[in-house]
C-alpha cells in the first residue's frame, strides 16, 4: 500500500519543459520584469533610453527566436499545456513585429511639446490644479514600457495555450496591462480614464464569461486540455448541453477581445480615449492574439462539433461585418472610424476562422498580419495630425490634409485602401485568401455578404480620402507635426510592407502555409 503511494509519488515529477520552444514568451516576460527593475533602480535620466532599448531588444530577440524555431516540428510542452507549433509561432512572430513598431511609437517624444503621448501621473483627479499642471510639465514616466511588455508576453502565450487554464492566465496577463495603458493619455484625460474604466469593467465581464465556460467544459470533459475536450466530444454519451454552453461562454470571452460584434461596444470608446500609440498596439496586436487563440480553440477542440456552432458563428460574423460597416458610416472621429473598421475586419476574419480548412488557417494568419500592419500604420498617422489640444481626430480637422502634407495623406491613403481591400495592397490579398477559404469551406453566401459589407465599409474609408484630397483646409486647422525617426520609421515601414505584400505576397503566404498544422 505504502509502496504504491510512494511509487505514485515518485512518478509525480516536474513536467519536462521545452525552454527553447517557450523562449519567445520567456524573453518578452523577462523583459517586462527587467523593465520593472529598471523602473525601480536606474536614475531618471537614463530610464527612458534603457526602457526603450530593453523593449526593442526583447522584441527583436523574440522575433529572431521565432524565426529559428519556425523550422522545427511542432511540439507540445509543459505537460501538454502549451503548444509550440506553426500557427502559434506565426502569431508570435507577427506579435514581435507589431511589438517593435509599437515600442517605436511609444518612444516618440517629439510630437508632443511636453514630451510623449503618455501622462506622468494618471491617478490625478481630472481638472484639478495638479492635473492642469502636469499637462504642460515635462515629467515623463516610463512605466508604460514594462506594462507593454507584460501585455505582449500574454498575447504571445494566448495563441500558444493548449489548455484552457493557461489560456485564461494568458488572457489576464494580456488584458490587465492594457486596461492601465488605456488610461494613460496625456490629453483629454477624462476620455482616457473613461476608456480605462470601461475597458476594465467590460473586460472583467468577458473574463468571467471565459472562466464560466471553462468550468462548464471541465464539467463536460473532465479535462481542460483542448485535445481532451475534442476527444470527449467525439466519444462522450452525455448530452451536448454542457459542451455547447461551455463553448458559447468561452467564445464570448474571446470574441470580446477580438472586437467582434455584438461584443464590441467598448471598442470605439476605448480606441478613442487611449493614447494613440497604445490604440495602435491594441488594435493590431490584441486582434492577432485573440484570433490566434480562436483558431486553436475552433480547430483543435471544437472542429468535430462544427454542425452545432457554425450557424451561430455565421450570424456573429454577419453581425460584426454589418455593425462595423454601417455604424462606421455615422462616425465623425477618425479613431472611432478605425475602431468600427476593426469590428468589420473581425467579421471578415471570422469567415476564415470558421471555414475550418487548411486555407482558413493560413488565410487568417496572413490576414492578421496585413490588418495589423495597416491598422498600426494608420494610428501612427493619426498621432501626427495635431493642434494645440493634442491630436486632431475630428474628421473636419482632416480636410485638405493632402495640400499641407502630401506625404502623410498619401501614406494614410495607402492604409485606407488596404483596409478597403483595393488590389495592389496587402488588404486585398488578405481578403482574397480569407474569402477563398470561405468558398472552399462551403461558406459561399457568407462570402457574398462579406463582400457587400466591405463595399459599404469602403464608403467611410473613402470619405477620409475625399476629405484629405478633395476638400479645402479649414482656416487655422491642425498642422502635421514632424515626428522623430521612430514614428517616421514605423509609418514608412508599415506603408512599404502594405504595398509590398499587395504585389509580392507569395513569400509570406508560403510562410503562413507552412505554419498550418496545429499540434495538440
Amino acid at each position: 500500500m505504502t509502496g504504491a503511494v510512494l511509487a505514485a509519488g515518485d512518478s509525480i515529477s516536474a513536467p519536462s519543459i521545452s525552454y527553447s520552444g517557450l523562449a519567445p514568451v520567456l524573453i518578452i516576460l523577462g523583459v517586462a520584469l527587467a523593465g520593472v527593475l529598471v523602473e525601480a533602480s536606474l536614475p531618471k535620466a537614463v530610464r527612458f533610453a534603457a526602457q526603450v532599448g530593453l523593449a526593442l531588444a526583447g522584441c527583436v530577440a523574440a522575433l529572431i527566436v521565432v524565426i529559428v524555431l519556425a523550422g522545427r516540428a511542432g511540439e507540445v510542452t509543459a505537460a501538454g499545456a502549451i503548444a509550440v507549433d506553426g500557427p502559434a509561432l506565426f502569431c508570435q512572430g507577427t506579435l514581435a513585429i507589431l511589438g517593435i513598431f509599437s515600442v517605436l511609437l511609444l518612444a516618440e517624444r517629439r510630437l508632443d511639446a511636453a514630451g510623449g503621448a503618455i501622462v506622468a501621473q494618471a491617478a490625478l483627479t481630472v481638472g484639478s490644479s495638479n492635473d492642469r499642471m502636469q499637462r504642460t510639465s515635462h515629467d515623463v514616466q516610463t512605466e508604460a514600457f514594462p506594462l507593454f511588455a507584460f501585455a505582449l508576453g500574454g498575447m504571445m502565450l494566448f495563441p500558444a495555450s493548449n489548455n484552457l487554464l493557461v489560456m485564461f492566465i494568458a488572457l489576464e496577463v494580456l488584458s490587465l496591462p492594457l486596461y492601465l495603458l488605456a488610461g494613460l493619455a496625456r490629453h483629454r484625460r477624462l476620455l482616457s480614464q473613461e476608456a480605462a474604466v470601461k475597458y476594465f469593467l467590460l473586460g472583467a465581464f468577458a473574463s468571467a464569461f471565459f472562466v464560466y465556460g471553462l468550468a462548464m467544459l471541465y464539467g463536460y470533459a473532465g479535462t481542460v486540455s483542448l485535445a481532451g475536450i475534442r476527444q470527449s466530444a467525439s466519444v462522450s454519451d452525455k448530452g451536448d448541453l454542457l459542451l455547447l454552453l461551455g463553448f458559447a461562454l468561452l467564445v464570448v470571452g474571446m470574441l470580446f477581445k477580438g472586437n467582434v460584434a455584438p461584443f464590441h461596444s467598448w471598442t470605439p470608446d476605448v480606441y478613442q480615449g487611449s493614447p494613440s500609440p497604445v490604440t495602435a498596439f491594441m488594435s493590431a496586436a490584441t486582434k492577432v492574439a485573440a484570433f490566434g487563440a480562436l483558431l486553436r480553440v475552433f480547430y483543435v477542440a471544437f472542429a468535430d462539433s462544427r454542425w452545432d456552432w457554425r450557424p451561430i458563428m455565421w450570424a456573429v460574423a454577419i453581425t460584426s461585418m454589418l455593425v462595423g460597416a454601417v455604424f462606421g458610416l455615422t462616425q465623425t472621429d477618425i479613431k472611432r472610424i478605425l475602431a468600427y473598421s476593426s469590428i468589420a475586419h473581425a467579421g471578415f476574419l471570422l469567415v476564415g476562422v470558421i471555414s475550418l480548412n487548411v486555407r482558413g488557417i493560413s488565410g487568417t494568419l496572413f490576414y492578421l498580419l496585413t490588418y495589423g500592419i495597416a491598422s498600426l500604420g494608420a494610428f501612427a498617422v493619426v498621432s501626427l495630425v495635431r493642434d494645440d489640444d493634442g491630436e486632431a481626430t475630428h474628421l473636419s480637422q482632416w480636410a485638405g490634409l493632402a495640400k499641407r502634407s502630401p506625404m502623410v495623406a498619401a501614406v494614410m491613403t495607402v492604409f485606407l485602401l488596404s483596409m478597403a481591400g483595393i488590389p495592389l495592397t496587402a488588404g486585398f490579398i488578405g481578403k482574397f485568401v480569407i474569402f477563398q477559404a470561405g468558398v472552399d469551406g462551403g461558406l459561399g453566401t457568407l462570402v457574398v455578404i462579406a463582400l457587400v459589407s466591405s463595399a459599404i465599409a469602403a464608403f467611410f474609408y473613402l470619405r477620409i480620402v475625399v476629405l484629405m484630397y478633395f476638400s479645402d483646409p479649414p482656416e487655422g486647422g491642425p498642422a502635421v507635426s514632424v515626428p522623430s525617426i521612430c514614428t517616421q520609421a514605423v509609418v514608412a515601414l508599415t506603408a512599404a510592407a502594405t504595398i509590398f505584400l499587395g504585389i509580392i505576397p507569395q513569400p509570406i503566404l508560403d510562410v503562413a502555409h507552412r505554419a498550418v498544422p496545429f499540434v495538440s
Partner: protein, 537 residues
Amino acid sequence: MSGLWLIVLGAIPLVGAVVVGALPSGATMPGETAAVGDVVPAEAASAAVAPRTEGTAAAKLTALAFSLAAFVVAIIITARFDTHSSARFQAAKSWDWIRSFGVTFSVGVDGIALVLVLLATLLVPVVILASWNEETPGGRSPKAFFAWLLALEVMMIGVFVATDVFLFYVFFEAMLVPMYFLIGSYGGSQRRYAAMKFFLYSLLGGLVMLAAVITLYFASPAHTFEFVKLVGTVDPGYQKLLFFGFFLAFAIKAPLVPFHTWLPDAGAEAPTGGAVLLVGVLDKVGTFGFLRYCLPLFPEASRYFAPMVLILSVVGILYAAIVASVQRDMKRLVSYTSIAHFGFIAMGIFAFTTQGGSGAVLYMVNHGLSTGLVFIVVGMLIQRGRSRQISDYGGVATVTPYLAGVFFFAGLSALGLPGLSTFVSEFLTLVGTFTVHKTYAVLGTVGIIFAALYVLWMYQRLFHGPVKESVHKERLRSIKDMTALETVVVAPLVALILFFGFYPQPLLDIINPAVKITMHDVGKRDPAQHAGNGAKP
C-alpha cells in the same frame, strides 16, 4: 523577346507616372489663396496659374513623351500581330505570381484586346495635349494630374492584356483609384459626390465579381485562374451564378441601363481628360469583359441570359436616347449618348453572330474616337464659355467658326453619319443582330433617329441663332477660335474617324479572328456569312 513587348508597353507609362510624380513641383502655393470656388475671375485665375506653368511644363512634356513612347510600342505590337495566326493570344508570356492561389502573371493580346490597347494608348497623348492649358480647381498641382493620367494608362493597358482572371481583376479594381483622384481632385463643382458615386458603384460590382472570381477557381477542375486553361472547363452547374457575378460588374462598368446612373455624374464632373478616358476607354472594359470573360467562360449561361441582356440593351438604347435629348448640361448629354451607344455594343455582342460581335468591337474603337472627340470639343467650348449649360450659349458659330465645324463633325460621327467610322460599326452591329433578332434590331434603329435629334438640337442651340442675351454675352463675343495646339489635338481623331469610315478593313482583319473564336466558344454558328463582306459602305 516577342512576349516582352507587352511588358514594355505597360512599363513605359508606369515609369512615366513615377517620374512625373517625382518631379519637383515648382511653385504650387500661390494658387491656393487665390482660387477658392470654381468661379474665379479670369485675371485672378491666370495670375494664379502663371507661376505654376513653368514648374509644370516639364511634367507635361515628360508625360507626353512617355505616352507617345507607349503609343509607338503599341504600334510595333500591332505590326508584329499575325492576323492569320490560329493562336488565341499573341505576344503571350506567363510567369508564376502567387502560387498559393494558382495565380499567374500572364499577358497576351487577341485582336479585340489589341485594338482596345491601341485606342487607349492613342487617347492618352491626345488627352494630355487637350489638358495642356486646363486650369486645375483650387490650386491643385497639375503635375499630379499628369501622373494620375499615366497611372491610369498602366491600368488600362493591364486590364486589356491580362490573360489571367485574377490579374484582370486586379487591374479592373485598381483602375478605380487613378480615375477616382482624377475626378475628385480636378473635376467640377460636384466632383466629390461624383467621384464617390463612381468609386462605390464600381467597387460594389467589382466585389460581386470577386466572389465569382474566387468561385471560378473551384468551379473548374483546372484549378487555375489562367484564362486559356479555364475556357470550356467551367462546371455548367455553376455557370449561371458566375455569369451573373461577372455580368453585374461589367454591366455597371459599361454601363448598361439600369446600372448607369453613376456615369452622367462622373462624366459631367470629370475634367475633360478624365471624361475622355472614362467614357472612351474605361467603359469599354465592361463590354470587353462580356466578350472576353462572360461568353467564353460561361457559354451555357450566356445563351441562357442573352434574351435578358438584349432587352436591357434595347431599353438602354431608347431610354438613354430620350433622356439625352432633354439634358441641359452638355457633358451629361454626351454621357447619356454613350449609354445609348453601349446598348448597341451589348446588343451586338449578345446577338452571337460574328458580324454582330465584330461590329461591337469596331463600335468600341469608333465610339472611343468619336466620343473622345466630342468630349474634347465640348471641353474646349466650356473652357471658353465657363458654363456647362447649353442654355448659356447661342450663336457661338459666328465667333468661332472652326470650333463649330469640328463640333459639328464630332456630332455627326456620334450620330453615325455614313462615311464616318461610327456608321460602319453601327451598321454591322445592327445587321449582325437583325439576322437573328429582327425585333431588337428594328427597335435599336429607332435609337439612331433619336441620336440625330439630340446631337443636331444641341449643336443648333449652342452654335446657331443670335448670341444669347445672358450674363455670358460679353464673354461669348470675346472668346477665341481654336488655337494651333487645339487643332493638333483634334486632328488625329478627325483623320481616323474619316479613314475608318471609308476603310475599316484593317481593323476588321485584326478583330474578326478573335470574334470568331469567341463565337465558337459560345457555341453559336452564324446564320449568314461572316463580317467584312458586304459591310463596306
